[in-house]
Amino acid sequence: MTPLDPDQLLGIDVGAEIRKLAEAQIESAWQLPAELVRLALRAAARTVEVSIGSSRVTLDHDGPGLPPLMLPALADLLDEGLSPAVRHRALGRLESASAFGLIALAGLGYSRLRVETPGGALDHRRGRRPQRPEPRAGDTRVEIDGLGLQAERARAWLEAACRFTPVKIRLDGRDLRKGFRDALVEDVLAAPVSGRIALPRTGDTSLVWLLQDGLVAAHVTVADAPCFEAVLEMPKGPGPVTAAALRDAAAPHLDALAIRARDLALLLGGRIDSLDDSDQRRVRHLLLKAALSGAPPELLALPLFPALVYQGAPARRFSLLELGRAAEAEGGRVAALYPDQDPTRCVPSGRVAFVLDAQERSALSQLLGLAFCSCVPRPASRSLRARLASGLAAASARAQSVLLRLRHPREGPPVEAASLSVAERALLAGLAKQLDASLEVRLGQGQGPLRRPGGRYWLLPRRNTLVRAGLRLTVLDPRWLYPAALAFFEGRARPQAEAGLAWRAGRPLSASPICAAGDVSEGRRP
């Protein structure tokens, strides 16, 4: 073997080094504005203003400027007239400072670069040696002309990369949107990694954004977890910062993030009543997803699933355990409505009907082996035949009334209040209580049909057969007020719901509780 001088054998192609490091560390020129913002953040800027055009990029920030040695290093790097060794050292300095944005400048085809910071200035036109004009006071400004980047892509990337920056960033005169998009809940992450975590209202994929200097530098997806979005500020290691290195560094923390997301969903599940319907559904989806990956005990007992109960009990929520038991009681098949189905327009089959969408049903089928039966929707409108029959019935009643009126053409005058019997007073009072308060019902003389002399005024002839029957029956049992009201007014004035309840309950009307809810609701059906 013949000894060789290693210095003679080994060398660095500085030209290639600069070119490759400039070109192959960022995706393309469209990443440059974000890298310049990164430098600004590292320089403790509080406000950054970026303008991106097809051939011109400018960046202004209010930080103290570049570190003292960075601008000379950049000038050396860009100066092709300097020796390779000098440029190599300049490159090393910039790389040690992770100033990839500045290194990238050496590989991009701009026509003019101007950097002005409180500590120095640089003016470089392509093909000439960089100039070092006198520094000026004020903010830092970087101007790059003739860059030829894809402006739209650069804006999109800048917006994506700056989503979580702590400082104000304006792009082309408007503030960039920050933070998680449409988060249901957010929380802070502490050691071992710092950052934030959120549960988004939409989406299926769990994403973790990895930040370097406050800017997104990489992202990873987490499988088999309730959908969450997290952002981690990655500590800077000793070696070169790359997206792959960031992902490697984040990998050990991903399981913990999934657990944290599940805990957040559990937290929301605990106060699900305070959320609106769509958020409730989203929380249920997240928790079912968590349950499919192994449900913790507290999840099993959490009352999450809304149900309508048809035994006079109020609507309530069932936990997974209760739901399983309810299904068991119903033979493994439970009644369920879809969320967009109106419970009042459905006839459920069963004592309990859950309100579940297809995703929830699918997950519950998988978890508990449940089967669902749906409710039969009531017709949205009555059939033509039914409406015709109803019209004929009304016409028939009207004809009978007309006949009666022909027999008794004269309308008897209203009976004075003082002349009313006790039973008559009770009847009128009962009717008044049952009907709309704006209606006035009075007794009249004679035996003709029920009349309606005014819009809200009914006159019941004292000796009309139906009125007399009603009078006799209500004296015996006030519950008869309900059929009496239906019979007297034939649907044109309707008794209130509690009158019907009293009739069905078999209790005197005076003893029945008055419920303010107007219509019959499924939950109160006896």
């Binding site: 060398g11 500085v14 393309s28 019935a393 069905r504």
Partner: protein
């Protein structure tokens, strides 16, 4: 370029080695990559951990490198001989120095180049010393790198094998990307098939390839030229966040996408752990997404094969089919328009042909050139000919003399002279004609042809043919019924004919004609044709019709009035042309007949001029051709005279203005067709060149219910257009299929039914309702999950249900009121009540029948039934009140229904 101090080199090389991330074995990838780029077909990696040292060697059979090459590139950081080589995997010039991650004490590089001396360089691990020597001789070319470090790593062999497998198991040869590069680690091959377990699909497009599969857990691995780049969970991870789009969900039960991608044209970043989000990567990711969807469709198709119609529907999609339908409608519409506006025969005839009518002799119906006599005759005559490729002009009536008024000389009523035809030997035309008498029938003969008299068959029998004064063959038909006539014609020269007398012409025209007599016949023909076209434009406008009529009524001679009006239809133009030909000594006659195309004739009559040169055959001259009309020219050359028949396009029914030259109908469609054909051929060529080659392996054991359940859990991930929602996967009872999306929609409206046992109720309702066959697992899964109405249990409930007098009365009342509900009772109904909807309403007239089964033990029902005996009206009101509360949510409608019952109850109960 150089010289940087060795210390700088070492520091820089270590820095670059660290850039590769946390995996300390990543240098194996770089060594294998160099071997591949050197054209190796086999690489041997050997490890030894003996006597306190770990030794690793990597030897390939590539091209090797000269020492000079090594000095210039291998030992010079960032210099790479592969910078511009698109086929190479490496290009940064730093990969080799990742061997420093092994922390070697000694580095030995040996090479046996093809065009130079073998050499070896030994370096200290800290690059402080170097020495050059000669390697041991070996057969063939190649390179070997040996690394040693002074600690015996116990798991060295395993770690190296795993690293090589992880990084380069799909490595292929540089010169044959479809052939594996054999990598042996301690005698064990690490090469693996680029594939995934089924269901999976391998695809290759250009230099890129991939495998997509459906597995239990999601995962994506990206390779560049067979070398590992990175692993990820989803395809979206591979691209920049701003470029990521929704893909198949990360985890759907049994449906997690697993993907291997190997890009031949990816652009790696310096750290090698990422590829640029450039067009190549985006294309690859999109391709993988499409292939995943396709695989899902294929897998579903395997489990539940689709009919041909469904496949066409799915492949083309509604929009495509709609587009095709619209295009077809547009083509038909355009064709219809074209037929209406077409100047004449050719294309127009073929598109829309009404039923043909029998041919009758024209002699009694044509009286000479007039503008209103040659209106299109609809439908066409029943004449067909073969070969269809020919486009003859069938002259049905020949006029060789016109009176000054323009009337044709009277036609011979009953010709008596024999027809001197000529047997046809070649280029014959077979003609079939349905002819209608009675009387003489002039046979339509193509201009330039003569009839073969022996070929004439009338109703299958030979018939004798006579000749008219103008030498036209004629048959005498006895009856009025249509007769089947067949004959053959062929190109032939007619016998010499007596020249027609020169017609009287206006003075100026006569002079011109006289002058032309001395010219050669083609020149005469050409100039006269041009003169007519210049002087008389083709038109059928009503204004010109009126002017011709007025002039004729005023007694103005044909020639003068034609020139005065300056426009006319085909027989006006060609009538004038015939007269001019005759005046110039050209034997000519006006032919009135039909244009043949594609074996049929045009529905409208057309007129043209037949002329001949001495004893030659009759030829065609047509002043109504597409040649532009040049107004204002006194003498002009005619055009299109000797053009083949199809190029001559008379326009008997054209509505174009007189000054507008009619378009040649054949030019545009042909050029368009040619252009379109070229375009389609180019597209097909490009498509073929960039086609995606696929190899699909499906899983026969794939569990469809799990797939469906997964799709229901992740509807957003699949998207509404996914095949899993549109494929007809669910079995219907008793036959048929239903798509998951349709089932979902029906279930949400309470209109999905199911049966496991195929009960009588299901059989009865299957025609009117959508009944899923739940005896099959996928049917059971979906109907149970979505909540289908179980007809089997209903069948059992209805079988044990009954009605009593009370419910009968209630049902009768409801029927009377037009309601579709009916009530029954049953024991153990499972709940207080259950409701079954039996069918759809018909146009909203009849209500959909609904059965409500009440639990027999219901207290109110029992009370009402007890009341029925003594107080039926009160009982009915009580039952109706409770029953309507179950089914009728509208208080107003409830009140309307209850009012008559309440009245009856009051009247009944009043003491």
């Amino acid at each position: 370029m150089r010289k940087i101090r060795r210390v700088d080199f070492h520091r820089r090389a270590l820095w670059e080695a660290d850039r590769y991330g946390s995996d300390s074995w990543v240098f194996l990838r770089e060594l294998l990559q160099n071997a591949r780029d050197a054209g190796a077909g086999r690489v041997e990696v050997k490890t030894e951990a003996l006597r306190g040292t770990s030794r690793l060697s990597c030897q390939d059979d590539g091209a090797g490198m000269t020492l000079e090459h090594a000095r210039r590139y291998l030992f010079t950081l960032y210099a790479s001989s592969k910078d511009q080589d698109a086929g190479s995997a490496g290009r940064f010039g730093v990969g080799f120095w990742s061997v420093l991650r092994f922390r070697p004490a000694h580095i030995l590089v040996r090479s046996w180049p093809s065009g130079g001396r073998a050499w070896e360089i030994a370096l200290a691990g800290d690059l402080s010393t170097a020495a050059q020597g000669l390697p041991p001789p070996r057969r063939g070319t190649g390179t070997e790198v040996i690394l040693e470090r002074p600690d015996a790593e116990p798991d060295l062999a395993r770690a190296v094998f795993e690293a090589a497998w992880r990084e380069a198991r799909y490595l292929c040869r540089r010169d044959d990307p479809e052939r594996r590069l054999l990598v042996m680690v301690n005698g064990r091959a690490i090469s693996a098939a680029f594939d995934l377990p089924p269901p999976s699909a391998r695809f290759r497009r250009g230099a890129s390839r991939g495998v997509v599969a459906l597995g239990a857990t999601p995962g994506v691995e990206l390779f560049a030229k067979g070398l590992h780049v990175r692993a990820a969970t989803t395809l979206g991870d591979l691209v920049a966040p701003s470029e990521a789009s929704q893909s198949l969900p990360t985890l759907a039960q049994g449906l997690a996408p697993r993907v291997l991608l190997d890009g031949g044209d990816l652009d790696l970043l310096l750290a090698r752990g990422d590829a640029r989000t450039n067009r190549a990567l985006m294309r690859l990711v999109r391709l993988a997404q499409r292939e995943l969807e396709r695989l899902l469709g294929r897998q579903l198709d395997l489990i539940r094969p689709q009919s041909l119609g469904q496949r066409v529907w799915e492949v083309l999609g509604r929009r495509t089919l709609l587009a095709i339908a619209l295009m077809a409608a547009a083509v038909v519409g355009a064709g219809a328009l074209r037929l209406r506006d077409a100047p004449s025969g050719a294309e127009a005839i073929v598109v829309d042909r009404p039923s043909p009518i029998p041919y009758r002799d024209l002699a009694g119906r044509y009286h000479g050139p007039e503008m209103d006599r040659l209106a299109p005759s609809q439908p066409p005559i029943a004449l067909v000919y073969a070969p269809r490729q020919e486009s003859p002009r069938f002259a049905a009536l020949l006029v060789d003399r016109l009176e000054a008024s323009g009337r044709a000389a009277p036609f011979e009523a009953h010709p008596v002279r024999p027809y001197a035809g000529s047997p046809c030997a070649k280029s014959c035309l077979e003609v079939e004609l349905l002819a209608e008498g009675p009387g003489p029938i002039r046979l339509p003969i193509p201009t330039g042809h003569r009839l073969d008299p022996d070929s004439v068959l009338l109703d299958g029998r030979r018939a004798s043919v006579l000749a008219t004064e103008t030498d036209q063959p004629v048959l005498e038909l006895a009856g009025a019924s249509p007769r089947d006539l067949r004959y053959r014609t062929g190109p032939a020269v007619p016998p010499p004919s007596a020249p027609a007398p020169s017609p009287p012409l206006p003075a100026g025209l006569a002079d011109v004609a006289r002058e032309l007599r001395s010219r050669p016949l083609p020149e005469r023909v050409s100039r006269l044709l041009g003169a007519v076209q210049d002087a008389v434009a083709y038109s059928t406008d009503d204004a010109f019709v009126m002017r011709h009529r007025a002039a004729a009524a005023a007694g103005q001679p044909f020639i003068e009035r034609t020139l005065a009006v300056g426009a006319g239809d085909c027989d006006i133009q060609n009538g004038l042309l015939m007269l001019l030909f005759q005046a110039a000594g050209v034997p000519a006659r006006l032919a009135v007949g039909y244009l043949g195309n594609g074996g049929h004739v045009a529905p409208s009559l057309h007129a043209w001029v037949e002329y001949r040169d001495g004893s030659g055959p009759w030829r065609i001259a047509d002043a109504s051709t597409s040649t532009p009309v040049r107004r204002g020219a006194t003498v002009a050359m005619g055009g299109g005279l000797e053009a083949p028949y199809p190029a001559l396009s008379p326009r008997p029914e054209s509505k174009l203005p007189a000054t507008m030259p009619p378009a040649n109908p054949s030019v545009f469609p042909r050029s368009l067709a040619l252009g379109l054909s070229l375009l389609i051929a180019s597209g097909a060529g490009l498509r073929f060149a960039h086609r995606t080659r696929r190899s699909v392996r499906l899983d026969h054991g794939q569990h469809l219910p799990r797939l469906l359940l997964g799709a229901l859990q992740h509807p957003d991930g699949f998207g509404p257009g996914s095949v899993i929602f549109h494929h007809r996967l669910l079995p219907l009872f008793p036959r048929g299929r239903l798509a998951l999306g349709e089932a979902w929609d029906l279930a949400a409206r309470g209109r999905l039914y199911s049966t496991r046992a195929g009960c009588a109720l299901a059989r009865r309702l299957a025609r009117r309702l959508t009944v899923v066959d739940a005896s099959q697992p996928e049917g059971a899964t979906v109907s149970d999950t979505l909540g289908a109405v179980d007809l089997d249990s209903w069948d059992a409930v209805l079988a044990r249900s009954r009605t009593g007098p009370l419910l009968d009365a209630l049902n009768a009342y409801l029927r009377h009121r037009g309601e579709g509900w009916s009530f029954r009772t049953a024991t153990a109904a499972g709940a207080d009540h259950a409701t079954l909807r039996l069918a759809s309403s018909w146009l909203g007239w009849r209500p959909a029948p609904r059965i409500v089964v009440l639990d027999e033990t219901l207290a109110w029902l029992r009370a009402a039934e007890e009341l029925w005996e003594g107080h039926p009206a009160e009982a009915l009101f009580t039952a109706a009140d409770r029953a309507l509360d179950l089914i009728e949510p509208s208080a107003r409608d409830r009140s309307l229904l209850l009012a008559p019952l309440a009245r009856a109850a009051l009247l009944e109960a009043a003491p």
